[in-house]
């Protein structure tokens, strides 16, 4: 049945009386930059940190693993004993440059998280699309599995997988991916169901389209924005999880720098050298903040209806 315009707006976000505006204009207006500041800040942080992690070590030119015991525990902004190098963020208990190690750790942390997101995302998308598109008993079984997976918190799943697979770069990435796939699976399934219920989907079936075409030409293009939003929101959580793994000694291993393991080894020294724990922690916080701000922003821009959804 037809629904007429009403002044009350059922949707949460678009406080525009939609019925009043849409049919008359039939087009969207470009939005102003207002309200996008936090998103831009977030993106700048993320891109900045990623760039620093990629080219930073090369620009700085200090070997993150070079020990110089005479330069132990120098506070930030001190010269090395021989006056050759400025340790901008100080040195650790083995005389290694903290800035170089933070950059190196950022490279490791960010790439392992990026790989983890790719693993989790592809796994989750496959399950979510299969479940939502096929439906029936397969859907019930897959969703039970998702429920069970979601009952184990992200960090604990990651710990568990890392326990079984062992530590190291690849294993950590796989652990992060396996720990996080269920979130994608559930949201993608919900979105698939929603799309499948829309008329354009049925219209395409009625045109005689194959399943392949339905999935690849109609379903996936419409899922991309959801995936992007979820992935960027998940990134922050995965950065924290990765550093927690390393902090607990089940992530990437020393002597390779990683933010979590740096904090772990700094903990006994917190009374004497606060910067050893504070600096990598700040790095984690900045990156996570960046991803969170960026994710929220992407969600608002790409998928305004999902505002109320977590």
């Amino acid at each position: 049945m037809r629904r007429q315009e009403s002044a009350g707006v059922a949707d949460l976000e678009p406080v525009v009386p939609i019925g009043e505006l849409e049919p008359a204009t039939g087009r969207r207006r470009r939005r102003s930059l207002r309200g996008h500041t936090t998103g831009i800040i977030g993106t700048v942080i993320v891109v900045g940190m990623a760039l620093a992690a990629i080219v930073g070590p090369w620009l700085l030119g200090i070997d993150p693993n070079a020990q110089e015991l005479s330069d132990r525990l120098l506070p930030p902004w001190s010269q090395s004993g021989d006056g050759s190098t400025l340790h901008i963020l100080g040195t650790d208990d083995l005389g290694r440059d903290v800035l170089a190690r933070v950059l190196e750790g950022g490279r490791a942390s960010l790439s392992v998280v990026a790989l983890g997101v790719v693993v989790g995302c592809s796994l989750g998308m496959t399950v979510g699309i299969t479940s939502g598109f096929r439906g029936g008993r397969l859907d019930i079984v897959l969703m039970r599995v998702v429920d069970a997976q979601l009952a184990i918190p992200l960090l604990i799943s990651a710990l568990l997988v890392a326990t079984i697979l062992g530590t190291g770069f690849m294993n950590t990435a796989v652990a992060l991916g396996i720990a996080s796939w269920a979130v994608y699976a559930r949201l993608i399934r919900a979105e698939t169901l929603k799309l499948r219920g829309l008329d354009f989907f049925e219209a395409t079936v009625a045109l005689g389209s194959s399943d392949r075409r339905l999935v690849f030409r109609h379903l996936i293009p419409n899922l991309i924005s959801t995936v992007f939003v979820v992935a960027s929101l998940e990134m922050g959580g995965l950065v924290v999880t990765e550093s927690s793994l390393s902090y607990l000694g089940l992530g990437m291993q020393p002597p390779d720098a990683s933010w979590g393991s740096m904090i772990r080894s700094a903990q006994p020294l917190i009374t004497t050298a606060w910067w050893l724990a504070a600096i990598p922690g700040t790095a984690v916080m900045l990156v996570v903040l960046g991803f969170n701000l960026m994710g929220d922003w992407l969600r608002d821009v790409l998928d305004p209806q999902s505002k109320q959804r977590v």
């Binding site: 059922a10 069970a148 009952a151 184990i152 960090l155 607990l248 904090i263 917190i270 009374t271």
Partner: protein, 309 residues
């Protein structure tokens, strides 16, 4: 009433089934894929005979299905097996640590809810106000703090520098202050956002407009018509946050050297003590599922649409 019991009954069965499936999967994952023996024998290794002896003693020489049946059989009698590392019953290890972790978790949840709900509601009633903006900035920041790092920073400031509370350990209420704050910080942001979003959504609903059109004063509209509907999604989120809370205790107990189940779990993982890993991970999942079950029941009471359908 009978309907409610029926729904609850079905949910209980589903929860138990999920948990059961989880144990099956976890058991096979750990005992098929993991190979703890080498690790247990340490760096210098040992002879093949020694390894075989350990295998035999732990029952690992038997086929996996037999191990599994034995495990399940014991489980039904309440026996969770024995820790490989400490050679003690797993059940004892857990029960003696559980009260400590429960105290921590429940206090943190309570604190989190007490902060998040009022803030979220107030922010929704006056969107764009200073309180709304402030709490939003606070939430985003808090959400970005890795809890172990926050814990260390709090220790530096409040335990080391100011000496107000002890840094680590357990015993007095002062020992609880920092861990509870850290855990609650993990709960508040999401809960607050959800409360705000749910309340905002409800305030835009037609039935709130109806309530206003009946002439009811705004306070009554909010309390009677908006709040209850907004609480429906919020309870679900509280349940979801419980998982994070459990994960949080693992970290927080490690940082504060607080003797709880979280520490048992972390240690067991580090030493590949699989019976303990299996039991603690299952316990974690069980607690999340249990809370989900409870919220489902609350949901059923709150929402007549679920109750009578």
């Amino acid at each position: 009433m009978g309907e409610i019991l029926g729904i609850v009954g079905r949910r209980v069965v589903a929860t138990v089934a999920t948990l059961f499936g989880l144990i099956i999967v976890l058991f096979h994952l750990l005992f098929l894929l993991g190979s703890p023996i080498n690790l247990m024998m340490g760096e210098d290794g040992g002879t093949q005979e020694q390894a075989d002896a350990i295998r035999e003693r732990l029952g690992l020489d038997q086929p996996i299905w037999q191990q599994f049946l034995t495990y399940m059989g014991n489980l039904l009698t309440g026996d969770l097996g024995e820790s490989w590392r400490y050679e003690r019953p797993v059940l004892d290890m857990i029960t003696e640590r559980l009260p400590a972790t429960l105290t921590l978790g429940l206090l943190a949840l309570l604190l989190g809810v007490l902060i998040a709900l009022p803030l979220g509601l107030l922010a929704a009633v006056k969107p764009g106000s200073w309180l709304d903006n402030l709490s939003r900035v606070g939430a985003v920041t808090a959400n970005s703090l890795p809890n172990f790092w926050l814990a260390i920073m709090l220790i530096i400031v409040f335990a080391v520098q100011l000496g107000w509370v002890p840094a680590t350990g357990r015993g007095t209420w002062q020992h609880l202050v920092l861990p509870v704050i850290v855990l609650a910080t993990g709960v508040v942001p999401m809960l607050m956002r959800i409360t705000r979003a749910a309340m905002l959504e409800v305030l835009n609903k037609d039935y709130v407009r109806t309530a206003r059109s009946k002439g009811l004063p705004e306070r009554t509209v909010l309390r009677r018509h908006a709040l209850r509907n907004a609480m429906i999604p919020v309870t679900t989120v509280i349940a979801l946050r419980v998982g994070d809370l459990v994960a949080g205790t693992v970290i927080v107990e490690a940082v504060f050297a607080y003797p709880g189940v979280g520490r048992v779990l972390a240690e067991a993982m580090a030493f590949r003590d699989y019976p303990v890993v299996l039991a603690t991970v299952t316990l974690t999942a069980a607690s999340v599922l249990l809370v989900t079950l409870i919220t489902d029941i609350i949901y059923t009471v709150l929402d007549p649409r679920v109750r009578i359908s």
